[in-house]
């Protein structure tokens, strides 16, 4: 049996809104093993964003324990969680969140800047390697405003890969892209999955579930469905079957 990367143990998360207590998560438990490609789905209000924030160590649960790579997160303070995020997690956001007027290389180097154990030379090498892995080795010095949406998302993925994280957390990573580019990005994620990366893809788009190895559905703060996908659809085939564009 492969190693468990994520262990959620009856996670509850309450928010105080005025007088009222909102129960965003009402006891969520699941494990994710190394090398899984999981979609977490749910409509808005299902607690999906809250779960994403918890998984990304941006937030801590009100109750229950979360183990990331066997480290208990809920008792950590802000700074410890920052370091943990820096070493263990790679984020990919819907709106890319690249630094403006900054080259692809510098954007990718960013997480390593916050890791004092890495030298300038190492940083440069790792960033170049990560950009190569997303197929952008010819665009190292392009600035973020000179790139297309797909390219920017690739840079963002490279940035998520650069610290060699145990977990890649993608938040609607294809949400801002057109169909073709979305498939291209999905192809990239599938390649990473094949290389053994653990990926969590949070989305409200049910179509994407067919591309991943496991599908968790949330509703009203609880897991209502958790299925293993035996027949993973190849995003590459979908891409090839798309009607050719005229331009």
């Amino acid at each position: 049996m492969s190693k468990s990367i994520i262990r959620l143990d009856n996670i509850k998360r309450n928010f105080q809104v005025g007088e009222e207590t909102v129960h965003a998560l009402r006891g969520v438990s699941f494990n994710i093993n190394e090398g899984e490609f999981v979609t977490i789905m749910g409509t808005s209000g299902s607690g999906k964003s809250t779960l994403l924030n918890l998984l990304g160590c941006l937030d801590t649960p009100t109750e229950g324990e979360y183990y990331l790579d066997d480290i208990a997160v809920s008792t950590m303070d802000k700074n410890e969680r920052s370091t943990l995020r820096n070493r263990k997690i790679g984020f990919v956001f819907q709106s890319y969140n690249l630094l403006a007027k900054t080259t692809a290389l510098e954007n990718v180097e960013l997480p390593l800047l916050y890791n004092p154990t890495i030298s300038t030379k190492e940083r440069r090498e790792k960033a170049e390697k990560a950009l190569e892995a997303v197929g952008l080795s010819d665009r190292l010095h392009h600035k973020s405003n000179q790139m297309s949406g797909g390219q920017m998302q690739r840079v963002a993925i490279a940035r998520a890969l650069v610290n060699d994280p145990v977990l890649i957390l993608a938040d609607e990573a294809t949400g801002n892209l057109d169909t073709r580019t979305a498939y291209e990005i999905m192809v990239l994620f599938q390649e990473l999955y094949k290389k053994g990366r653990t990926i969590i893809f949070v989305t409200h788009n049910p179509e994407l579930a067919s591309f991943t190895s496991r599908n968790i559905v949330l509703r009203d703060g609880k897991v209502v469905k958790d299925t293993i996908n035996e027949h993973i659809e190849s995003a590459k085939n979908m891409l090839d079957n798309l009607p050719k564009q005229d331009d």
Binding site: N53, N79, R85, F91, F93, A100, L110, P111, N163
Partner: protein, 406 residues
């Protein structure tokens, strides 16, 4: 995260907004430059007054009779007879802080040479007077001890008197001029000194042995004043105290009695005259300081806008592992870089504009090292102070909220 990386990140952010960074800097530049220039102008005029006063004499102390009452009527110091030659002799020999001293008696009147005449005054002094008042002989000699003892009718004349009595440029030495019908032989001429800061012509002067003026011109036995020179500038105060004590005991004054003389030092005079410029300097520096403060507020304003504008960036940095203090340092360094660079440019501009003032208006300027350091220090502190609040705000953002910020 190390400081090198932080500076790199901050520089990067600033270079993305060059114009804005420059405009923010401008406040600091103007502030620092004006502080330096104002202080340079203020200090320059103060020093020029100082140097003019010190031209009047070296560590000079002036002793005049004073505060004499006759039947309840306060007397003019010229008519007072409280200072005697004995006082002068005691000051010369029985003091430790006095290096030179000269008695002073003067009379004004008309000098006549041939068909020319000129109104001036004749001062009776001794040879020490030359050093006390920083006078130099151009031609000829100063009167000697023997001439003083014999009350010789000799004199030394200043340039203005020469010009008026010898308009055709004759050689004055050896000529006999008449003052109140008394013939004086010119034995020396003085080097020109020009006008002093109070507008007095320092070349309108005739010096004669004090004995001559006392006996032959005024026919008095007292003296009208004593000029002395302290051994050093620092010794002036001690010398003044010493003289006062000596004169009180000489004049047998009771402890309760007022002094019957006045002792004024050049230092006092200089302090008195520079107090106005000091005030003006402080005023100018305050105004310039306010502009520095306004510049600081400009930094705060821009940093605050910058934090708001880059909320998402802050959220991203935090999500990929930046700690609160990394964000704090980044924005603080940005603010300090702005003020620091502004400070350097301001210092250069301040020095340049000081010299421009000197060149264009020929005002005396004196750039103070302390003002350069002070304004530089103040502007860096301003940067930290005004950068702190926005930076603190940035570092306390919640990454979840920040990432969602539109």
């Amino acid at each position: 995260m190390n400081i090198g990386n932080l500076i790199k990140i901050s520089l990067r952010a600033l270079s993305n907004n060059k114009l804005r960074a420059f405009l923010t800097m401008l406040g600091i530049i103007i502030g620092v430059a004006s502080v330096i220039t104002m202080l340079a102008i203020g200090q320059g005029s103060k020093e020029s007054i100082r140097s003019q006063i010190s031209e009047m004499g070296s560590n000079m102390i002036m002793i005049q009779p004073g505060a004499d009452m006759k039947g309840g009527v306060r007397q003019s110091s010229d008519n007072m007879q409280t200072l005697k030659l004995k006082d002068f002799n005691d000051i010369c020999s029985n003091t430790t802080y006095i290096s030179k001293c000269s008695p002073s008696v003067a009379s004004s009147g008309q000098f006549i040479f041939g068909a020319n005449n000129y109104p001036s005054s004749i001062s009776g002094v001794n040879a020490d007077y030359m050093d006390i008042r920083k006078l130099t002989i151009e031609d000829g000699t100063i009167f000697n001890e023997q001439q003083i003892a014999s009350a010789a009718k000799v004199c030394i004349v200043g340039k203005t008197v020469i010009k008026n009595l010898f308009p055709n440029g004759e050689e004055p030495i050896g000529k006999v001029i008449r003052f109140n019908k008394i013939p004086f032989t010119i034995i020396g001429t003085l080097k020109a000194k020009g006008y002093n800061s109070m507008g007095m012509d320092q070349d309108d002067i005739v010096l004669a042995p004090y004995t001559t003026v006392q006996k032959r011109v005024l026919a008095i036995t007292y003296i009208q004043g004593i000029f002395a020179s302290a051994i050093s500038e620092d010794a002036t105060t001690n010398a003044t105290t010493e003289i006062k004590a000596l004169l009180r005991s000489n004049h047998k004054l009771k402890d309760t009695a007022d002094d019957d003389f006045n002792v004024r030092s050049q230092q006092e005079l200089s302090t008195m005259l520079t107090s106005t410029t000091d005030m003006m300097t402080i005023l100018l520096a305050c105004i310039a300081g306010i502009s520095l403060l306004v510049g600081g507020i400009g930094i705060m304003n821009i940093m605050y806008v910058s934090v708001k504008e880059r909320t998402r960036e802050i959220g991203l940095r935090m999500s990929i592992g930046a700690k609160g203090r990394d964000i704090l340092s980044q924005f603080l360094i940005e603010a300090v870089l702005i003020s620091f660079t502004g400070g350097i440019i301001g210092v250069i501009l301040g020095i340049v504009s000081s010299f421009m003032v000197k060149l264009l208006f020929s005002w005396p300027i004196s750039i103070q090292t302390y003002s350069v350091f002070l304004s530089f220090l103040v502007c860096t502190i301003t940067g930290v102070f005004f950068g702190w609040y926005p930076a603190k705000n940035a570092s306390e953002l919640d990454p979840i909220e920040a990432l969602r910020y539109e």
